[in-house]
Symmetry: C2
């Protein structure tokens, strides 16, 4: 049996280009004992994948040139040689960027079909990005009732849940930064943020000051750079930063300047803490128990931007890096 | 009764100059009920005082031009109108930069005379700088047995105790950064650090890499700037930074660039935490119980650089900012 997959054709320098990717056919082996054959239904494109396209070591090993990319995918079991898995089962796994995969059942997580919720939710609000928002806000930033919470990339997969969770957990004010006026409307409308600004309309520091005149207590950082500097300026004593991502930095060929005001962390007793969601998979059950019903009942809104077909996956990845998606960027296979 | 005190004559811009200070006579009131008259024996000059000379708000209110400076001092009670205080008592208080003070007894801490230990120790290893090292290393950085610990300004009042405590608490390696070859010898000799370097001899990043080829787990930051950037590069996963001071930054008129590699905090899951010792005075008894005997028994070495007389206080302060002291800089009154 044959399938199609996306290879890393070349390591990008700065912004990736379409010809850094190539779609190729591949032969699928018969599933051996303990393995399953899966038809992928949706695959994910996420910011962290950009880091893996570089040669240098990151917190996950780099992709190899000429090899297929990997990443979150949700699929249907077609054939199973593993106990506990049957054809038709829905499984979440890490062999995205391909139409079919043969994998160890141990590397797949069986997930329930939730009536009224697309399986693609397991790549976003109920998956890795959702868990990232949950852990970052509650465990890393230690958000408490009454906090003023600022979230960057607030219309993205992680940011949109972080902001909504903050609101549901009793934040006194939730502020989002986004990259377009359309997203400002989405975030303050559908998602219920108290305020949002389009960071392209001025210095982030000024825009944040206007949106949070009394300062902030928690910053959920998906962007880094000027956003982080602005947040440090706005943070009140004992403020906390969950350092989750730095999309402003990923495609930089020169390291951008660090926050010039980091010294304020001393006087304001700030805590800045970086984290990687894969350290926190033990929180997945608690997360799913809490957020699953909120999604099912419509108390948490999750938008998706869906690209169609494997051939569109590289472009979907690039569009996501450029911030063209609202909500989770997904590829339907 | 008259006394002499040091006033802030002008707000310094950048590095303070001698004529930003003035010594003046002042009339002392009779101590009212609840107050004591103290003859100061030693006064302290500390880096944080530089911030208070600026007009802008810091974590402590600014000094006022034309008014006497304040700061840690240890003195002998001459006259008491307060229960529990008697002439001859040794008291630690915050009315330094003057030869005598009349103050509320509630603002003075009575401390014991320790045989063989100069009362000036209460301004250094057994006082605010000592508590800073203790809280920063143990509570803020959460130093654990086996950690590799890096301390900047390691020959200073805070750094020299932080490094020695790390060693006594089972650090696998303690590395110090200092500003002269003489201090390298002091820190690796008398203080028992495993390694030290003179940061003036090359890029801190290279010097630290040489001293800690396998990386570090804890960075006790008294310097900021290039030291912090070098430490972020050297920190291993789950590393922690206690942000205590930024002496490299205090006299800067332009904010220096922040650490360009702060984004590494995400992949390495670093925690950077700023703190102010005055939030942690509840730890003073535990600190004194633990560190007092170590000092008395000579297990912790504390050197002092002593200037003589109130007129020398401004110059002692400046020399300390230039890093000319070894151990705690003290003024004998």
């Amino acid at each position: 049996m044959k399938t199609r997959q996306v290879l890393l054709a070349a390591r990008p320098t700065g912004w990736p280009r379409p010809d850094d990717f190539a779609v190729a056919e591949a032969e699928l082996p018969e599933p051996a004992d303990g393995r399953i054959l899966v038809r992928n239904v949706f695959m994910s494109v996420d910011p962290y994948m950009r880091g893996r396209m570089n040669a240098g070591k990151s917190y996950v090993p780099p992709f190899q040139v000429g090899e297929p990319l990997t990443g979150g995918a949700i699929g249907e079991v077609l054939e199973s040689k593993a106990p506990g898995f049957a054809p038709g089962d829905l499984v979440l796994h890490d062999f995205g960027w391909r139409e079919h995969a043969v994998l160890d059942a141990a590397a797949a997580r069986k997930v329930p079909r939730i009536p009224g919720v697309s399986p693609s939710a397991y790549l976003g609000v109920l998956g890795m990005p959702g868990l990232t928002a949950y852990v970052g806000l509650l465990d890393i930033a230690g958000m408490k009732e009454g906090d003023v919470v600022f979230v960057s990339a607030a219309a993205g997969a992680v940011g949109s849940l972080a902001g909504q969770l903050a609101r549901l957990k009793g934040a006194s004010r939730v502020i989002g930064s986004v990259g377009s006026d359309e997203k400002v409307a989405h975030v303050t409308g559908e998602l219920g943020f108290d305020a949002a600004f389009n960071y392209r309309r001025g210095p982030v520091r000024d825009l944040l000051k206007e949106a949070a005149p009394d300062g902030i207590d928690v910053y959920f950082d998906n962007v880094g750079a000027d956003h982080l500097e602005a947040a440090i300026a706005a943070l009140r004593p004992y403020g906390r930063v969950a350092m989750c991502g730095a999309i402003a930095v990923y495609n930089a060929t020169e390291p951008p300047p660090g926050p010039r005001n980091l010294v304020q962390a001393i006087g304001k007793r700030l805590t800045l803490r970086g984290f990687i969601v894969s350290d926190h998979y033990d929180r997945f059950p608690a997360f799913l128990d809490e957020v699953g019903p909120l999604v099912r009942d419509g108390k948490i809104v999750h938008r998706e931007t869906v690209a169609e077909g494997l051939d569109q996956a590289p472009e979907a990845f690039l569009a996501m890096l450029r911030g063209e998606n609202i909500g989770k960027m997904i590829v339907r296979l």
